[in-house]
Symmetry: none
Subunit: 221 residues, 4 copies
DNA sequence: AATGAATGAGGCTTCATTCAT
DNA sequence: GATGAATGAAGCCTCATTCAT
């Protein structure tokens, strides 16, 4: 990671342990109440430590947020590559990557939502550090897509847009959880999503209709 | 709208005018600095009025946020139906709706981003009011999709998921503007998005490969 | 003054009035308890205003200290020149200046003591601003001394050292008030001080003795 | 000393050694940053020991300050008498004492300044203990002066005021070091100071003028 | 004796909200 | 209707002191 959070405690195991405590508590509170509405006092209480102790492991409150967000993007960066290790077929890679992404999100619902809420609360440099990590993960997906296109498995579509469509589909499970969770399970969400994205929507008749639409249909109003 | 913001000023035209001033300023400041990092003092300065005056048109700070968010969702609720008025073909409706949604987002980049950041800062009742509006707009899109499916234009896919895929595509223009804006124009974004969503991705060969993938490929790890 | 303290309140009369309140309270509390041991809460209470109000007239606590110290040095810079206005004889000027200095100190016992205690609590730039004021006042005294020497009234002594001897004599009334106050009145303090400084100490016989002291008597140990 | 600082460590040599470490570090930090702006953590780092260790040799932070100040006043109390040991002539005693005082100050510039700043940070009992030491040293000088007067070497002036004039002259070398140091050396400072104090200022003509000044010149305004 | 992690009280400062004009 | 000075409740963070090792 480019942006390091500094601790004034030397012992690295202790640092890791304490920070894990803090991040766990922070993820919970930040995502349910928001970063700004969570006080250090509450955070300390949730983590089972004193207020002052937090500041031995973090220089300011914003650092806690950074640690939380770093944890998620790092898990993305680890889990998605791991899900396609050893898989030859690019198509299978793509399917597995989508699947893995959705499942990582499911394990980090709170933190994922948080990333959308709280990035504005980070200073520019810290925000950059998070966005770079995000782009790295996206690059992996983009690569898989390019492979598929190269092998004639996928049509030659806009890779960036498709990448983000996949990313949003995964994040959507967290962002709109309040809508989906009561209606559908994760497995179904994943398979239906993959179905829509890969198989497209139009029936043969629909395809004819679509082709006959005037070209400039959706041009500037 | 179910949740009304109350003003202590009688003259309704004045209320409208002042609130417009306030909302304009708030949209700018909230979306660039975040809701919590914007002070009433800054807001008043940006709106060209005094701090005290704000409280004649709003009961508390959160109300300002509600007004801002209401404005966006209302514009969604107005613009999207308008874009399909008089259009017979459900497929054309769908295409026009996606196009319209993206363009409304483009006109409200700041506010759209804000909706993702700041909803957590709303009290539950206010949050519900926004989410209901969002669902109303989504319902329109869902209806169009169902029409398409009913007429055999689209395959029978999961309507909810597809709806949100479209919604995310539109919102994505705002949420990831920092990525897309330097790389692509709005028109291209819209047409490529529609292409991917409607036409699907798989080539005929890709289709064969996909069909031969083991069924339980992406089941729980 | 070079270093200005900024207020966020416009009305200059109000600023002056409130700052006077604050400075009066601060002088009292700072000099009896020290700058660091005085809390803003105590200060507000003593001034009869709320904590928050202080920050409409001052950017940070240190500014309050600066205001207090500025007030004293400014009074020095005003009172001492005023005491010699229109006086022709340089010797009379000198006597009057010493007298005036001591009396200003007497009117600002607390603040004078404070200046010795708290200058270290000022940031460098603020400290400089105070030291410059001090030097301006000292320059006036130095000028008078030079006049006296020029006219053959005083021996040609080290002007800087004599200046500070006078300054210390004045400040001493505040600094060692705990010693002098119970033993002697201000008038007597002033006249005895002037007597010692101007008339010297040695009797004719003492003079002879002094002249016969070995030259290197007080050289480095 | 009346006020003792207690240590929880038995071995007196160790106590002395550790305290010396602590006092050395404290003198440096307190006088450059002020007592209140120096943390125990910094102090420990400067002294090369741990925070906790300090509390084995001192009951609270204020004790450290007391130790520092005690060290200076004790050195005054030792050095000044030593400088006049065996000297018969009271005038020579006086000159030597002034000289010695200035030189002790020069060796303890930081601590001397500190005494003026930080005495207010001491509790009353500790402050008294320091002031008593100061008075003891002053008493020695007062005695010498009285001797001189008794032997007809000095005029019969106010002994207290003269004593403090001498004390201030010595302290001034530290207090106004920022002014004198770049302009003059210690030796010159001492000899010029003694010259002014002992020989007085007025020329014969000045004397006449002075005698002809109206008596109530410097009476209350 | 020594360490340094841990505690928690309390200070400075901000800011939503009120109120006198 | 409008202003902006005034309030006071917290929030973040620091740091003297303690305590387990």
């Amino acid at each position: 990671m480019s942006t390091k959070v500094t601790a004034s405690v030397e012992n690295p195991e202790l640092v890791q342990k304490r920070r894990a405590q803090i991040v766990r508590a922070a993820t919970k509170l930040f995502s349910s109440n928001g970063f700004n509405n969570t006080t250090i006092k509450e955070l300390a209480a949730e983590a089972g430590i004193s207020q002052g102790l937090i500041y031995l492991y973090v220089r300011e409150k914003e650092d806690v947020l950074l640690l939380v967000l770093q944890q998620v993007v790092e898990e993305y960066a680890v889990e998605i590559p791991r899900s396609i290790v050893g898989v030859k077929s690019p198509l299978e890679c793509l399917v597995r990557a989508i699947d893995a992404y959705c499942r990582v999100v499911d394990r980090h619902l709170a933190a994922t939502t948080l990333a959308y809420q709280a990035t504005k609360s980070l200073s520019q440099s810290r925000r950059n550090s998070i966005q770079e990590s995000e782009m790295e993960t996206n690059a992996i997906i983009g690569e898989i897509i390019r492979d598929c296109i190269g092998q004639g498995i996928l049509r030659s579509v806009n890779v960036d847009i498709l990448t983000y469509q996949i990313v949003f589909a995964a994040h959507g499970w967290a962002l709109k959880g309040w809508y989906f969770k009561p209606r559908i399970g994760l497995d179904e969400y994943i398979s239906d999503t993959i179905d829509i994205i890969l198989n497209g929507l139009l029936t043969p008749e629909g395809q004819d209709l679509f082709d006959s639409l005037p070209d400039g249909l959706f041009s500037p109003v």
